[in-house]
Symmetry: C2
Subunit: 112 residues, 2 copies
Amino acid sequence: MATTQRGGRERVPPHPDIRTISLQQVLEALVDPVRRLIVSELYSAPDALSCGTIELPVSKSTATHHFHVLREAGLIRQYYMGTSRMNALRRDEFEESFPGLLGALMARADWA
Amino acid sequence: MATTQRGGRERVPPHPDIRTISLQQVLEALVDPVRRLIVSELYSAPDALSCGTIELPVSKSTATHHFHVLREAGLIRQYYMGTSRMNALRRDEFEESFPGLLGALMARADWA
DNA sequence: CGGAAGGTACGACAGCTGTCAAACTTTGAC
DNA sequence: GTCAAAGTTTGACAGCTGTCGTACCTTCCG
């Protein structure tokens, strides 16, 4: 199948329950322009995107860091497909916990 | 009168035009919990409040700093009444530039 | 097997920013 | 005139965090 499992350990750490995420955490995640760029790409993409698909003005290790922060803030869900790590917005869940927030942010053209 | 003027110089610096404010600036302002506490107080107050009216868990000089950031981000309007500096949310203007944002944030109980 | 692709983990470092104390300014009250 | 109240300004400092390079790990492909 080639998705997440592989014997004993997970390759992707567990995702947090969105109900445990504070507004503070979300804002700390979204205050960074690079992370907002990531979110906006995922927001306007029909499906999940691999890390490399999203062009970012930072190094690979920095990109990893940003994806990590977004995952911990409950904004994205990650899973592996082969060597590629896929990223999907947790759109509906997030909307339920923070109604209107994502929309209000994405409505602005100057997220970058 | 006893409001803002006093001969030549203003006692309160000019307020920025909201249309020149970026989303980045707004998020940097609202990511701080103390500033969000201030905004929430003003949000649920019918009229303007003096700095001292809002109880904050920081020193006076730090409070001054936070009010400054909020003013520069176009979130509040300040003017003097006697020795008290009054603060009012720029509600309608802000809503026009960032529709739904303030509401989405204030809807959460855990801004503090 | 061996190599390449795609990311991760780990330090290290620089810059920003939230914090305070102390000195100062302006206004109102007595 | 004097004193208190309310904030501001300045300078200093600590902690966080965004950044990178390097080394490392998995998985796919020939």
